[in-house]
């Protein structure tokens, strides 16, 4: 799905969160959204989904978005928020079913239940289906929410740090799953990630945000260089290019005075 952003600006109480962001997200690719805390990654994703008022233009497919209804109701766009706190005791299966909110009948159709199980199987949480969501570990909960986002078969994934609570293995598995959706189902994915190594390994493109502005766009190996990391993150780092084509980044120390 085409996603094109032009001159996007957002202010919270006079403080700019995004400042003149222009960006074309490549369709049928996995684009990693990277940058330090507070760079505007979450705000950008929430804007695209229509949850934050903004100036500028966002084109989603053929239409401009203004509200979640524009993309959400059609079921084509899945936005995965970052917050993992829940106080509800709904079962994991019910939580996943809610992903089909717009089309759920009073009596849940068998096909919807089967679809929910299939997605949970894909994500690796089918065995937890009947557990209350509050009783799951934070990582398991995160995977349940991923399943919720995927149940509608979205063609645009807006995922806000989907791996933040996952162990090494589940991080790799989830990103492999997203890659598979991109390659086999022609989905477009814009995924905020903190782990630069993971980003460089799985993403086709990287967008580096810094203080509400786009600092660099391109292939991850081009974006993730020593000087850029030093400038944006204030960190001295070693960057090894690996023969596989990705980079391995080791943070050495925080630079003083930043």
């Amino acid at each position: 799905m085409r996603l094109s952003i032009a001159h996007l600006s957002v202010e919270f109480h006079g403080v700019p969160a995004l400042d003149d962001v222009s960006l074309d997200v490549a369709p049928r690719c996995l684009t990693a959204l990277i940058g330090p805390n507070g760079a505007g990654k979450s705000t950008l994703l929430r804007c695209i989904y229509g949850l934050v008022p903004y100036r500028g233009q966002i084109l989603l497919g053929e239409a401009a978005t203004r509200s979640p209804a524009a993309g959400g109701r059609s079921g084509q766009v899945a936005y995965l928020p970052q917050d993992l706190q829940v106080r509800s005791r709904l079962s994991a299966l019910d939580v996943v079913l809610l992903g089909k909110l717009g089309s759920l009948a009073w009596h849940v159709r068998d096909a919807d239940v089967e679809r929910a199980y299939a997605v949970m199987e894909d994500v690796g949480v089918a065995a937890l289906a009947r557990h209350p969501i509050t009783e799951l570990s934070v990582g398991q909960r995160q995977l349940v929410f991923v399943a919720q986002a995927l149940i509608r078969n979205p063609s645009l994934l807006l995922f806000d740090e989907p791996t933040s609570a996952l162990d090494l293995r589940h991080q790799l598995e989830l990103l492999t799953l997203i890659r598979r959706l991109v390659e086999q189902r022609e989905a477009t994915a814009l995924v905020a990630l903190h782990d630069l190594n993971v980003a460089s390994r799985f993403a086709d493109h990287a967008v580096l945000l810094s203080r509400g502005r786009v600092h660099a766009v391109g292939a991850p190996v081009e974006v993730l260089t020593c000087p850029t990391i030093e400038e944006v993150y204030g960190v001295e780092a070693e960057v090894h290019r690996r023969p596989e084509g990705d980079v391995l980044i080791t943070a050495i120390r925080a630079l003083p005075g930043r």
Partner: protein
């Protein structure tokens, strides 16, 4: 990806079984409502037998049973017992949705000052009602209803732009204190006779039940419950938190305004007809949540049924406490409700909310 374990016995069967279990619980609760309703019909100062009650109900021509029994059943007991069910259902469902939209387990229909405002309205009418060419009973009911809705309108007006939980709760609590202060002022100024009338009104009593009032509560429930049921999935989604509900395409602000309006109407009708009967709207949703969970397709009807059951049982008890007399039901619900609620809290400390 890996699956921890193979899902036993077919996931679809498991889902159907859990749905059937919850439906069975609702049916069982309905059966209990029939029991308490029957008990409510056969208890009372007149000491009628079940046979007398049944013949008066099923042989509606006055000549068939004796005339006194007929009057007791048709103008006193049936309207009161029916009103207990209807008001209980209204308070139970209103409480369920207050707790849902405010994401707060200790909220009830009275938290936002709707009942305190109704009490102030009734007190005003009791004190100054003789100035109006109206039956004082009607003017108290009317004034209570209007003041309750006025309070709701103030909350809606203040939180219209940004219907956040904080705005609604703070506005509601401010109104609660204002209404209580004004009510105290009226009580201070009232003559001893008027004060007694006011206090009795505030207790809450089903003796004010009439067929006309029961009809009005029925209409309110018949319109509002289906309207709430239309939002069942969206309200269930709201349990996952505002941001996540939004991520699922729910317009949280509009939902909150819509549901609050429904709650305000249910509460205003219930409170203005029978006074402030406490605790039903708080406890019924908790019991319902324990029994059928948070899926609103089960939770909403179950809360209404629990409310009806609770108030109907309280009505029976209010007639048994002092034989031959009627104990104010608002006192009974709180006196019985509080220990039950403690038991509930202790039993479920692991936290079902």
């Amino acid at each position: 990806m890996t699956t921890g374990a193979v899902v036993a016995a077919g996931p679809l069967d498991a889902y159907r079984a859990s749905a059937a279990r919850r439906t069975a619980i609702i049916v069982a609760a309905l059966a209990l409502v029939v029991v308490t309703f029957t008990a409510d019909m056969v208890t009372g100062p007149a000491m009628l037998t079940i046979r007398q009650v049944a013949s008066a109900i099923f042989a509606p021509v006055a000549g068939a049973s004796d005339a006194t029994t007929h009057v007791i059943i048709w103008t006193l007991r049936l309207p009161m017992a029916t009103m207990a069910l209807l008001v209980g259902a209204a308070l139970g469902s209103a409480g369920a949705e207050v707790q849902t939209i405010l994401d707060n387990p200790i909220a009830d229909p009275y938290t936002l000052g709707l009942s305190a405002s109704a009490g102030f309205g009734a007190a005003t009418a009791i004190l100054f009602g003789q100035l109006l060419p109206m039956d004082p009973a009607y003017s108290a009911t009317g004034a209570a209803f209007c003041c309750s809705l006025l309070a709701a309108l103030v909350i809606l007006a203040v939180s219209r732009r940004q219907p956040s939980i904080e705005t609604m709760v703070l506005t509601g609590i401010a109104l609660l204190f204002l209404a209580q202060a004004l009510l105290s002022l009226l009580e201070y100024l009232a003559s001893p006779e008027a004060l007694q009338t006011i206090v009795f009104w505030l207790f809450g009593s089903l003796t004010r039940a009439t067929w006309a009032k029961a009809g009005m509560v029925t209409v309110a429930l018949a319109v509002i419950l289906p309207a709430l049921a239309r939002d069942a999935w969206r309200l269930t989604a709201l349990r996952l938190g505002e941001e996540r509900a939004r991520s699922l395409g729910v317009n949280v602000a509009a939902l909150r305004i819509r549901v609050f309006t429904a709650i305000a109407l249910l509460t205003a009708v219930a409170v203005s007809f029978v006074g402030t009967i406490g605790f039903v709207g708080l406890v019924a949703p908790h019991v319902a949540r324990m029994l059928v969970g948070e899926d609103q397709r089960y939770f909403l009807p179950m809360s209404a049924i629990c409310g009806a059951l609770f108030l109907s049982a309280a009505s029976v008890l209010s007639k048994l406490v002092l034989p031959g007399a009627l104990f104010p039901i608002g006192i009974v619900t709180s006196l019985i409700g509080v220990p039950c609620f403690f038991a509930l809290i202790l039993r479920t400390r692991r936290g079902y909310w």
